[in-house]
Subunit: 440 residues, 2 copies
C-alpha cells in the first residue's frame, strides 16, 4: 500500500490515453504533482491510500482542458463593442482601450480570466498579449499552467515601447521563468501582416536558441491573405516557409483561409494549429478547414481567442460549436465525432503546446491536471455516451473540481487559489474607467 496525496474515487474515468475505454467506476491517485495511477477503482484503492479523498459521485473525471489560444486580459473588454465591422471594432474600440493598459490592469484582468477558466474546466492556456510578465504572475497565483509570450510587432507597444525592447522583454521573460513548474515562455510575433520578415527571423532565432515555442496569428481571414499576397506574392504560410519560420514548435492561430498548398506546408513542417471556431464566427472571419487539416495529419487544438471576440472562455461550449460547425459546413454529420473533439481539447491541445509528454491525458507519470464534471443534473440525464455528453451537453458550469499540478484549485465550485469576489471587484473598478472613456 502506497501513501499518496489525493485519491479521486467513484469516477466515470475518461483518461484520453490511447485506446483506453471509459472506466466506471474508476479512480485516480495523485502523488505530489503527478498521477501515480488512473484506472479501475478496485485496483487503485487496493494499492493507494491518501489523507485527502475526493468522491466524484459518478461524475466524469478527465484531463483538464487545454485552451491553445487566448488573450486572457481581454476579459476586461468582454462585450465592450460587438456586432461591428472588424475595423470599427479594432480601431474605434479595442486599440484605444488597449493604449491605456497598464501592467496592473493586465494582471487583474488575467486573474479574472483565470477564475473563469478554472470554473469552466480549463487547466492550461496559451496566451498572447501585452505585459505578459503580469500574465505569468497571475497564472501562477491562480495555479494554472500557461504558455505565455509578449506580443511583438513592427510598431511601438504600450507595454515595452520600441520593437527592440520587445526582443529584450521576451529574452528576459525566458530567463525569469525558465525553471517554473507551471509557466512556459513562448516567442510571439503578432502576425505576418504586422511583423516584417526581419523581425520574424530575429524572433525565430530567439525561439530556436531557447527551444521555446513560437506563437503567431496566421491566415485568420481572406482579407489578411490578400494583404500578404499583395506585398509578397505568396500566401502567409508560403511567406513564413520561405523565411524559415515554419517548424514543429510553431503554433499557428486560426488558419482559416488556407490553400491546398498551405495545408501541405503545415503538414510538411509539422506546424501546430490552434482552432478558434467561435471567434472566427463572431468576427465573420470564415470557417477553418479543420476536417482537411485532420485528414492530412496536422495536429489541431482548440482555443477560445480573447473575450472581446467570443465572449467567454468556456471550452466545453467551444467544443460543441466546433463539432457542429464542421458538420454543417461539410454537410456530413459524421465529421468531427465527439471523441475526436474531446481529444482536440485535451491531448492534441497539449501536443500543440509541446506539453503532451507532461499533460493532456491521465496516465501514470504525467502531471496531475484533472477536472471533475457533475453529471447528476437534469440536462445531463440520461448518459448513454460520455464523449457525446462532454461535447454536446456539458458546459463549463458543470465542472465542480479542478486540480493542476497536484494542487486543488477548485472544489465543489469554490475557488481555493483565488478570492473570487475580490477578483471581480477589481476588474469592475477598471471597467468603470473604460466606460467613462468610451462615453467621453
Amino acid at each position: 500500500m502506497h501513501l499518496v496525496d489525493i485519491l479521486v474515487k467513484n469516477a466515470t474515468l475518461v483518461t484520453m490515453a490511447p485506446d483506453m475505454p471509459v472506466i466506471e467506476p474508476g479512480a485516480v491517485a495523485v502523488a505530489q504533482d503527478r498521477i501515480a495511477a488512473a484506472g479501475p477503482q478496485q485496483a487503485v484503492l487496493l494499492e493507494y491510500k491518501a489523507a485527502k479523498v475526493i468522491d466524484a459521485k459518478g461524475g466524469i473525471v478527465m484531463p483538464g482542458l487545454v485552451n491553445t489560444h487566448t488573450h486572457a486580459a481581454m476579459s476586461l473588454f468582454r462585450g465592450l463593442a460587438d456586432d461591428l465591422p472588424l475595423m470599427t471594432w479594432l480601431e474605434e474600440h479595442i486599440f484605444p482601450a488597449e493604449a491605456e493598459l497598464t501592467q496592473d490592469m493586465v494582471y487583474r484582468s488575467t486573474l479574472l480570466a483565470c477564475a473563469e477558466m478554472i470554473k469552466s474546466g480549463t487547466t492550461t492556456f496559451c496566451d498572447m498579449y501585452l505585459f505578459e510578465d503580469a500574465v505569468a504572475q497571475a497564472a501562477k497565483q491562480a495555479g494554472l499552467r500557461a504558455v505565455v509570450g509578449e506580443v511583438i510587432y513592427d510598431f511601438a507597444s504600450p507595454s515595452y515601447g520600441p520593437v527592440e525592447k520587445g526582443l529584450e522583454y521576451t529574452s528576459a521573460l525566458i530567463d525569469k521563468w525558465r525553471r517554473d513548474p507551471l509557466i512556459t515562455i513562448a516567442v510571439e510575433p503578432h502576425s505576418p501582416y504586422l511583423c516584417s520578415p526581419d523581425l520574424l527571423q530575429k524572433l525565430k532565432a530567439i525561439a530556436d536558441e531557447n527551444q521555446a515555442p513560437m506563437v503567431i496569428h496566421l491566415s485568420e481571414s481572406q482579407h489578411e491573405v490578400a494583404q500578404i499576397q499583395d506585398k509578397f506574392g505568396k500566401t502567409p504560410p508560403e511567406h513564413l516557409a520561405d523565411l524559415g519560420i515554419l517548424g514543429p514548435r510553431l503554433i499557428a492561430d486560426h488558419c482559416v483561409a488556407l490553400t491546398e498548398n498551405d495545408i501541405t506546408l503545415l503538414k510538411q513542417y509539422d506546424v501546430k494549429v490552434a482552432h478558434n471556431p467561435e471567434s472566427n464566427m463572431k468576427l465573420a472571419s470564415g470557417i477553418a478547414p479543420i476536417p482537411a487539416l485532420l485528414s492530412r495529419g496536422v495536429t489541431v487544438g482548440v482555443g477560445t481567442d480573447g473575450c472581446a471576440s467570443n465572449n467567454n472562455l468556456d471550452l466545453f461550449q467551444e467544443m460543441d460549436t466546433l463539432a457542429k460547425l464542421h458538420k454543417v459546413q461539410t454537410l456530413d454529420p459524421t465529421v468531427l465525432d465527439a471523441r475526436t473533439v474531446v481529444k482536440m481539447a485535451t491531448l492534441d491541445g497539449a501536443c500543440v503546446l509541446g506539453l503532451d509528454a507532461c499533460i493532456g491525458s491521465l496516465e501514470p507519470g504525467k502531471k496531475a491536471d484533472l477536472i471533475i464534471v457533475d453529471v447528476d443534473q437534469p440536462h445531463l440525464v440520461p448518459m448513454y455516451n460520455v464523449y457525446s455528453h462532454l461535447v454536446y451537453t456539458v458546459s463549463g458550469h458543470d465542472v465542480v473540481t479542478a486540480i493542476v499540478n497536484g494542487r486543488i484549485l477548485m472544489q465543489d465550485r469554490q475557488l481555493l487559489s483565488l478570492h473570487e469576489e475580490a477578483v471581480m471587484r477589481d476588474v469592475n473598478k477598471i471597467a468603470i474607467k473604460i466606460i467613462k472613456k468610451e462615453t467621453e
Copy 2:
C-alpha cells in the same frame, strides 16, 4: 399603494417592450398571474407592496425565453446515437426506440425536459411528439406554458394507432385543454413528406375550426425538398400554398432549404418560422437563410429541436450559436446583432406561437413569465452591454429564478414545482431498459 403578490427589485431590467431601454435599477410587480408594473425601481416601489419580495441583486430580469420548436420527451434519447448519417440515426436508433414508447415514458421524459428548461430560463415551449396529452400534463405539473400537439403522419403511430385515430386524438386534446391557462393545443402534421395532401387538408380544417395553431416541419434539408419536387413538381412551401395550408397560424419548423419564391410565400401568408440552428448544424441539414427572412419581414423564433439532435435545451447557448452562425455564413459581423437575437428568443418567439398579446415582454397586463440571471460571476464580469451578455456570455446555468403565470417555479436554482431527484431517477430507470435493447 397597491398590494401585489410578488415584487422583484434591484433588477437590471430588460423588458423587451418596443423602444424601451435597459432600466437600472428596475423592479417588477406581479399581481396574481399578471404583470402589474415593470419600470424604474423608485416608481414601482412607491406604488406597490408585496409579502413576497425577490432581490435580484443587480441581476438581469427579463421575459422568460420561448422555445418555438422541441420534442421534449426526446430528452430520453439524449446522446443515444450521435455523429451518424441521418438515416442510420433515424432508422437504426431513434425509430426503434420510439416504437417502444409508452404514455408513461413520454410523461416522465417530458418532466425531465421541463426541469432542464426551467433551469435554463425557458418558460414557454412548443412541442411536437407522441402521447401529447402526457406532454400537456407534464408541462402543467412543471408549471410551464406550452403549445403542444400530437404528431400526425400517413402511417400508424405508436401512440394513437391508425391515422384516423390521430385526427380524433387531436380534436379530443383541443376539447380537453381548451380553457387551460398554460396549455394551448396545436394541430401538427409531421411534414409534407410524411403527410398526404388529403391528410394535410383535413388537419388544416381542424385547425381553422378551432382557431388553433398548426405546426409542421418544412424544408429541413435539400434532400427533403428534392423528395417533394420529385413527387409534386414544387418546393414544399409551394406545395403547401397550393393546398391552402399556409397562413398566419402556421408555424414552420427549420426552413433551411428555401428558394427566393419560398421566402416570398412565407412572407405573403405571414407564416411563422422556428429556427433551430444547433440541430441543423449537428444533423448537417444546412443553414437557414435567417438574415434574408428577417429582412423580408418574416417573424422568426428560436428553437432547440429535441435533445436527440442538439443535445440540450439551453436557449441561451442556442442564441449564441445563432448569432455567430449567420455572421460567418454571410461574412458580415453586423448581421443578427445581440438585441435582435434576444428579441427572437422572447417577443418574436411569442409572436410565432400566437402568444405575443400575452407573453414575450414585461409589460403591464401581460402574463408574469420572467426570469432572473445572476451576473455576479467571473464569466459575466464586467458588463458593458446587457444584450451582448445575454447572447454571447450568459448560459442557462446562470438563470437563478423563474416565474411563469405568476408562480415561482425556481428560486436560487431550487426547483419548486418538480422534485428534481425523482424526475432524474425515473428517466434513468427507463434509460437502463433502452441500453439493454440497444446492446441486444
